[in-house]
Amino acid sequence: MYLRSCMKLPLVATRLGIVAFKLMVAAIVVLSILPLLTGGIGLDLESGNEGEMTYENGVIHAEMPITVRNDGFFDINDLTVSFTFMNEDGDVLAVSEGEPMDIPSGKETEVAIELNLDLFDLDREVRSDLIFNGTEMMFETEISAKYTLDMVKLSVEAGSDMGWGPFISDLQVEEWNAQPLEEGDDRYVVVPFSLRADQMLDGLEALVVTEYRDQDGYYGNVTQAVLLSQQVYESAKIPLSQEAYGRLTNGTANATVRTTLYVLEDCFIYDEGQLSIGGGGGGDPIMNLQLQMGSSNLQDLGGSYLLRIPFSFQTDPSHQGQYADAFIEYSDSHGFYTNVNQQVYLEQDGWAWAQIWLSQEAYDNVYFNSETVHVRVTMNYQYWSGYSEQDYNEPWGVSP
């Protein structure tokens, strides 16, 4: 009998083994689910550092730090965040693969979600569009991680459209500001141009080619490197022959200038204009352009500072009812510089307000230190261009 009972022991042991195995699996499942139900696993977004974009060697890099809290019983392994960029047809343009990270259990781990868009992965056309015009790109985000001793893998995919750029805008040849220049026997025409670049591209070197062509077939150009910043204002100094220079100054050149900006080797954009130096016809369409600094005021809008500067002008009756461009620049001796473009309605006795946003530092300078600032307004209308500038150091009253 005893022997017979002993013979049944393997059966009992197997049954107990199966039960133990099932209990173990059940425990694993329960211990996996429990932290999810009780909020033991969570994400905290870092409020201070929200996804600032940087640019380096053709790669746009954005990083958003998050804190993953894992109070569960198992490590979270191979947490990966990847992005896939696609065009409207769903063709993959670029892929940004994140580095796999491990989140140990019982700890809070800071994880940097990284997005890397290599612009050189994009076609030239797409890249150019992205830089100069801005574009909508479809992108898919995939977040994957392993849990429960790597036995469970969770992947979440989310797709969306994303507006990008433009990163470089407002390239403008200021042909109305072009000036002939004589240096000994050499003759030049100096053509200012301006552009804006996203802060992300600060310091990136771009190439600018400015070409001059007149109706007699004269062609001249100059190539120069510019460092991109939020506001670029440069001049191109194009060498001219004596004859071309003469035609330009006596108003018979009928010349055009074209400024072409090259970035990332093969992406370019250009702007061109008709030069009208010398000659010309009739009187000035706009007269007596004057800054009215005495009427300017400074406003504190709860942490944002707005400076309002009026300027006045008079318009020739034949041009009244039209619009002119006004470019207002503001700078102080501490290196703060800002500008604003606006359209101005031309009337007989015109009056317009320029609204300029100041940084905290620039505001403190003018409000507490009686800083002397330099303001210049340039108006452009058809072939005409004129400006008014002033240094100003009267204290501003601040209205809330």
Binding site: M1, R4, M7, P10, L11, I18, V25, V152, K153, L154
Partner: protein, 382 residues
């Protein structure tokens, strides 16, 4: 039918009382207490009156059927297995249980109240699902009667005992002889498999679908479609499993006829787990532009490995029970007979032990006698 089998000399008050208590708990006390608790919760939360009324009516049904089933249970338990008396009371109780459950539907009013207070739940479909295992439950008293009739008659001396079958030229395929099987055990296991693998999953699916439908959200459409697919699989796999479970329960431990369906059942169960576990991959992509994929195939594999261990168990069971079954003359796997065999084995063991001790005692006495004789001889010599 032999009316004499209703005689009180076959009647056991204790056994009847035990079955009556079991029936009272199952059909009267537990449902009644649940309804009382339901009423208390309802009163605490100031619930709707019609739900209170419904529970009140259900309590009445429970009281009536519960008492009748308790009485029937008493008489069923009091008579011995294999007797017409037990069979009659047993089958009456089984049929009455179906009527009892049907009465709880209150001609559709239960469903109507649930629909108004929660969601559209098809109680008729659930009743139909319940009906199939209930039908097997009706057949179980018949199985029990068929299994125990001869042993009981033999025990009562109304039938001559059948000689024990010799193991002589018994081959493994002889294990499939129907006379080795227990109809009751087969029906019992088939029924529980049908409930576990078909009825309960389908009821859960019906409830889930009713819940999802009440949400009126398009996003759950694909999940509903998934549930339909799973339902089909549950039926396709569950019915063969219930059939195999019948044979597994029908044949005794140690027989190939039990081992083979048991192993096939384990294999189907593995596939059942794989299907019910959505092949280890849950995809939720109903929300526009967001898809969630949960790959738990490794965990599912682990569960399947745990289940596959049953194959080892059944191999061991075959190897370990087979000699015992052969030695006992290939009997049916009846609890009473098993108990009787064990009792006989215990007695045999005690007899062997007593004989051994007797022999020991005789040996000791002989030794003492020899020593005394030796001593006496020595004294005589001196």
């Amino acid at each position: 039918m032999n009316i004499g089998e209703f005689d009180k000399r076959h009647f056991s008050l204790v056994k009847g009382g035990m079955t009556a208590v079991a029936h009272a708990l199952k059909y009267l006390a537990i449902p009644y207490i649940l309804f009382v608790l339901g009423l208390m919760v309802l009163a605490g939360q100031d619930g709707p009156q019609r739900v209170g009324d419904l529970i009140g009516e259900l309590q009445t049904v429970v009281l009536i059927f519960g008492i009748v089933l308790t009485v029937l249970g008493f008489f069923k338990g009091a008579y011995p297995k294999g007797s017409y008396s037990r069979f009659m009371f047993g089958i009456t109780a089984s049929v009455l249980v179906i009527v009892y459950v049907f009465s709880l539907l209150l001609n559709g009013r239960t469903q109507e109240v649930i629909s108004r207070e929660a969601f559209e739940l098809d109680l008729n479909a659930i009743f139909v699902l319940y009906f199939f295992p209930a039908l097997l439950a009706v057949l179980m008293p018949f199985g029990e009667f068929a299994d125990h009739r001869r042993p009981w008659l033999e025990k009562e001396g109304m039938l001559e005992a059948r000689p024990v079958e010799e193991a002589g030229d018994h081959h493994f395929y002889h294990d499939f002889r129907l006379r080795y099987g227990s109809l009751y055990n087969g029906l019992k296991l088939g029924r529980s498999t049908l409930i576990g693998f078909v009825v309960i999953p389908l009821i859960i699916i019906i409830v889930l679908k009713a819940g999802f439908s009440s949400l009126n959200v398009e996003e759950v459409d694909s999940m509903m479609s998934n549930l339909d697919d799973i339902s089909a699989y549950m039926v396709m796999l569950g019915l063969p499993m219930a059939a195999l479970a019948f044979f597994k329960g029908f044949y005794p431990k140690g027989s190939f006829s039990r081992f083979m369906p048991a192993v096939v059942m384990v294999l189907i169960t593995l596939y059942w787990i794989w299907v019910l576990g959505l092949e280890g991959r849950f995809v939720f992509d109903s929300i526009e532009e967001i898809s969630l994929v949960l790959d738990y195939s490794k965990l599912l594999m682990l569960i399947m490995v745990g289940t596959a261990l049953w194959i080892v168990y059944y191999v061991l069971e075959l190897l370990l029970y087979r000699p015992e079954w052969r030695a006992a003359g290939f009997p049916k796997d009846l609890r009473e007979e098993r108990k009787a065999r064990k009792e006989a084995q215990r007695k045999a063991k005690e007899e062997r032990k007593a004989a051994k001790e007797r022999a020991k005692e005789e040996k000791r006495q002989a030794k003492e006698k020899a020593q005394e004789e030796k001593k006496a001889a020595k004294e005589k010599k001196e």
